[in-house]
Assembly symmetry: C2
């Protein structure tokens, strides 16, 4: 590439952020040296975005820079963790200054908004791909896990579902609101923190509601009954469905149930605490919808408001069947 690895790190990634007090050594040594305070546990996750798989040729550098970090922060949110540090591996076919600047600007804008410092990583020549590892903290013993749901617990989701899926489905004529939901997902960090001590189990919705709720329930060999008419759908989503014709009716259910990339949180909460949790989330500006109940029956069963069963057809559901 025109610029060496060293140049790229120097020009676009070094010295961009105020240093956190817990970073003893950041970018520029063989490894970062980091301080973890007593009484907290470290939460660490890693996610990779690959060109042609997780994003398309038309995805902007800013969207890739934002999303590569956002999907990891979403995992921290699902653990109830407070974000702290990130490392970044960037594989690039060539070094394009405009691309790198837009990528780095979006990465750091999201990082700064959550107090996350980039402390190391790697840049290399290769097919376009981005791997981020994010680190955060939880008070010892308070991490929110996928296991822990109990029969009778309410199933809840934050925000709205299906927006990113509809943007992907339509490809053209996508409203700015829907496009932003696909390209610039906002990790539910504050919601995750608010759920500590209240939710019985939490997962983030990256593969689709049915798939991810399935992962959560399988830990305790439980099932759930969902109300598919109450699934939260945004005004942008409903408006966008108008222009897809007859397919709109199926997509009204399928996308919120099975499309991925929403990065909302799906969680279970004991019935007695459900109203309090909804109120706490509302206080921090996070919508929350009760969509079902955990039970001991097999799998996830979907119902319309008239009581009729609804049978999803999408891959999200098959994925759940494979693994549950």
């Amino acid at each position: 590439m025109a610029e060496s690895e060293f140049d790229i790190i120097q020009h676009y990634f070094s010295g961009r952020q105020p240093g956190r007090a817990d970073v003893v050594a950041g970018i520029g040594d063989d490894a970062a040296v980091l301080r973890v305070e007593p009484g907290v546990e470290l939460v660490a996750c890693m996610d990779t975005l690959v060109a042609g798989v997780h994003f398309s040729e038309t995805t902007t550098a800013a969207a890739i820079g934002h999303k590569a970090l956002a999907v990891n922060l979403s995992d921290l949110a699902a653990m109830g963790a407070e974000p702290a540090w990130a490392t970044l591996s960037l594989s690039l076919p060539s070094s394009d200054a405009d691309w790198l600047r837009a990528f780095a600007d979006a990465f750091f804008e999201l990082a700064d908004s959550h107090g996350v410092q980039l402390v190391g990583g790697d840049t290399t020549r290769g097919p376009l791909a981005v791997t981020v590892q994010a680190h955060g903290f939880v008070p010892a013993g308070e991490a929110l896990l996928r296991r822990g749901a109990r029969p009778g617990d309410r199933v809840c989701v934050t925000g709205t579902l299906g927006d990113a899926g509809l943007a992907l489905h339509k490809r053209a004529g996508v409203s700015p609101g829907l496009q932003a939901r696909l390209d610039f997902p906002q990790p539910r960090i504050d919601a995750g923190l608010a759920l500590r001590g209240h939710a019985s189990a939490v997962i983030d919705i990256s593969d689709g509601l049915l798939a991810d709720l399935g992962h959560l329930l399988e830990h305790d060999q439980l099932g759930a009954a969902l109300q598919v008419d109450v699934l939260p759908r945004s005004a942008d989503f409903l408006a966008g469905l108008q222009s897809v014709g007859a397919a709109g009716e199926a997509l009204f259910y399928e996308l919120p149930l099975a499309a991925g990339d929403d990065y909302e949180l799906c969680f279970t909460v004991p019935e007695a605490r459900c109203n309090e949790v909804v109120r706490r989330l509302a206080e921090i500006g996070c919508a929350c919808t009760v969509i079902g109940v955990v039970d001991e029956a097999e799998g996830i069963r979907c119902h319309r408001e008239d009581g009729e069963r609804y049978y999803p057809t999408s891959s999200g559901y098959r994925h759940f069947n494979e693994t549950g």
Copy 2:
């Protein structure tokens, strides 16, 4: 791919290792939950290997699995850190059971030999690439950094140099010993631990001696004089040079100076402690050679045993000039 991400993780990566006591939650949740003991600092690094860039079509799955972890453990070694956990992102064009088994076996063999637990990661479809993040511990304040060298300090290297470079250069007719040095580098963890409290600055040799020593010296705006005839060369290296004809004479100097992939440690140590450090390393079976002296002149100057200057021609040196 034939197997889903979930299947691949289950079949090849889950339940392969005894659990470390400091892993609260490992593979299988949104993120790992990890405990860091009081009094230690966390050391974290990330390195990526991309097909066609860091390894070739003929590189075996075992070599890729080993090396992806080894290059990260080498970074921990250069910090004087004791390894603890790893995360793995694996991008695969297809799921080949034999390939995955060989990759995972080699990864875990190296991991187990250093007490490293795989605690999470990501598998995805895409061009073949592997990113590993490794985590380790150092007593607070004792990490070995790149900065800290002083004029008069001795420059030392562990093991032998140029082996991996010669294996890459020859391609065919490579002895098993040289090939193993390229494919299965052994991270110098024990040497890194032994250098704590003694070395003034440490770096691992991944880009070549001149480039990496240059990174170390640039932190303190220092130079060094090196003796190129005393650079440590293995019997396999010297035997391998016999068959490359007239080029052998140049390679005798160029490969130990500038070829990468050796993953030895290069460090500086105050003259008064030099003999003790060499003895400590010998006690743990790690050869160590004094190859030069840090000074305040510009750049790295190479000398033959007759006192004549030697001017390297390789990219390693140019890389150093770019960045020093």
